[in-house]
């Protein structure tokens, strides 16, 4: 639902990441990490990205999304596991004192510039 705003931020950050000495370059790919717990629907994001990247250095660019699983660590028994069900207690000792290690990402990892045509 807020994918449009997210897509606009992605375009802004990606465009600003083109080095000054390569100004005018086009971006071919944006590599994005999205945690499974984040409230993002990849299909909607792709759709919005395509719309907002028009007439920018990202027009036609590919948005490559890597989903990051939700990993948790138990502060009581040090168990680490992947949360793939909506339950947030340690499966080993039932403790609720857990720390989420990954799964909340919404990060631009890198951009790939389009190859120059000579």
């Amino acid at each position: 639902m807020h994918e449009m705003g997210i897509a606009m931020q992605i375009v802004e950050i990606a465009a600003a990441s083109i080095p000054a000495d390569l100004a005018g370059s086009r971006i071919a790919t944006v590599n994005l990490k999205v945690g499974k717990l984040s409230a993002i629907v990849p299909d909607s994001l792709h759709f919005c990205f395509e719309a907002v990247s028009r007439d920018t250095a990202l027009e036609g660019a590919r948005l490559h999304i890597t989903e990051v699983p939700v990993r948790a660590a138990c502060n009581a028994c040090r168990n680490e596991w992947t949360i793939d069900q909506p339950a947030f207690t340690c499966p080993a000792c039932q403790s609720a004192d857990i720390t989420l290690l990954t799964g909340r990402e919404l990060d631009i990892e890198s951009i790939e510039l389009a190859e120059e045509e000579n």
């Binding site: 639902m1 807020h2 449009m4 705003g5 997210i6 931020q9 992605i10 950050i13 990606a14 990441s17 083109i18 080095p19 000054a20 390569l22 071919a28 590599n31 994005l32 990490k33 717990l37 984040s38 409230a39 490559h64 890597t66 989903e67 909506p86 339950a87 947030f88 207690t89 609720a96 919404l106 990060d107 631009i108 990892e109 890198s110 951009i111 790939e112 510039l113 389009a114 190859e115 120059e116």
Partner: protein
């Protein structure tokens, strides 16, 4: 699963050798040549701009000694009625103010203003019809309030169980309202919201005699997502169950205000 960004860069280093360090600034990205164009490492949170503004809001709230509660829910869960009753009961003891988000009406603000608390209405229409209140929108709304005269600021977020959970606004605590007409499984369907909240209300309990609703299951589902958070069973209409909810707000506010 495809290669992630970092692995892709490592792979390129092995193949091509020398990464180029960009000379212009410290945060400058590492560049590598690949056979098709160049990969430039960015590593930035997409919501960076929001997080920075939220941190600035939080600093301001600390300086002004204001306790800020972000109140979220789906549409129609009784958020505004709950807030009306909450303000009425808090006002004798605390100076309260409200920022209320709505996509395009002022109906909620009009209702809340009757409590005597200063109310700033935000129509997100002018921010693109957003489905949540972002930190910069709150910052703008603060201009309409006398911060010196406020102890507790309650932000009534846009009715939505998805997006508001993703946006830090600089608040101290977050509460979510779920009403008993909404289905017991909502916490499992919107885990981020319930994971991000510090308290939950199961509202409209005056309707329970007319519904086939398992309130114990709803509470258990909330606790499955976020073990240990307080779950208050309330009716904003009859004020049943309001005392523990108000006590929670007061305790949190006193912790901050001293």
């Amino acid at each position: 699963m495809l290669l992630d960004g970092i692995n892709a860069i490592r792979a390129c280093h092995h193949k091509e050798g020398h990464p180029h360090h960009h000379p212009h600034d410290g945060a400058a990205p590492v560049e590598t040549h690949t056979h098709g164009g160049r990969e430039i490492k960015v590593v930035r949170r997409v919501l960076d701009a929001n997080d920075i503004m939220a941190a600035a809001n939080r600093k301001r709230f600390a300086e002004q000694r204001i306790f800020v509660l972000n109140l979220m829910s789906s549409p129609g869960s009784g958020k505004t009625t709950t807030l009306e009753q909450t303000l009425q009961r808090l006002m004798p003891e605390f100076h309260c103010a409200v920022i209320v988000g709505d996509i395009c009406t002022t109906a909620d603000a009009d209702r809340l203003a009757a409590s005597g608390a200063p109310v700033v209405q935000i129509n997100t229409d002018e921010f693109g019809g957003d489905c949540h209140l972002a930190a910069h929108v709150i910052e703008k709304a603060l201009g309409g309030l006398d911060l010196e005269a406020i102890d507790i600021l309650i932000v009534e977020n846009i009715g939505n169980l998805v997006c508001p959970a993703e946006f830090d606004i600089g608040e101290d605590k977050r509460a979510v309202i779920l009403s008993v007409t909404e289905g017991e499984d909502k916490p499992l369907k919107y885990p981020l919201m319930f994971r991000e909240c510090d308290a939950a209300l199961l509202n409209k309990i005056d309707l329970l005699p007319y519904l086939d609703y398992d309130i114990k299951l709803a509470a258990a589902n909330i606790l499955q997502i976020h073990p240990g958070i307080p779950v208050f069973e309330t009716s904003a209409k009859t004020e049943e169950g309001f005392a523990p909810w108000l006590e929670w707000i007061k305790t949190c506010a006193k912790e901050k205000l001293g």
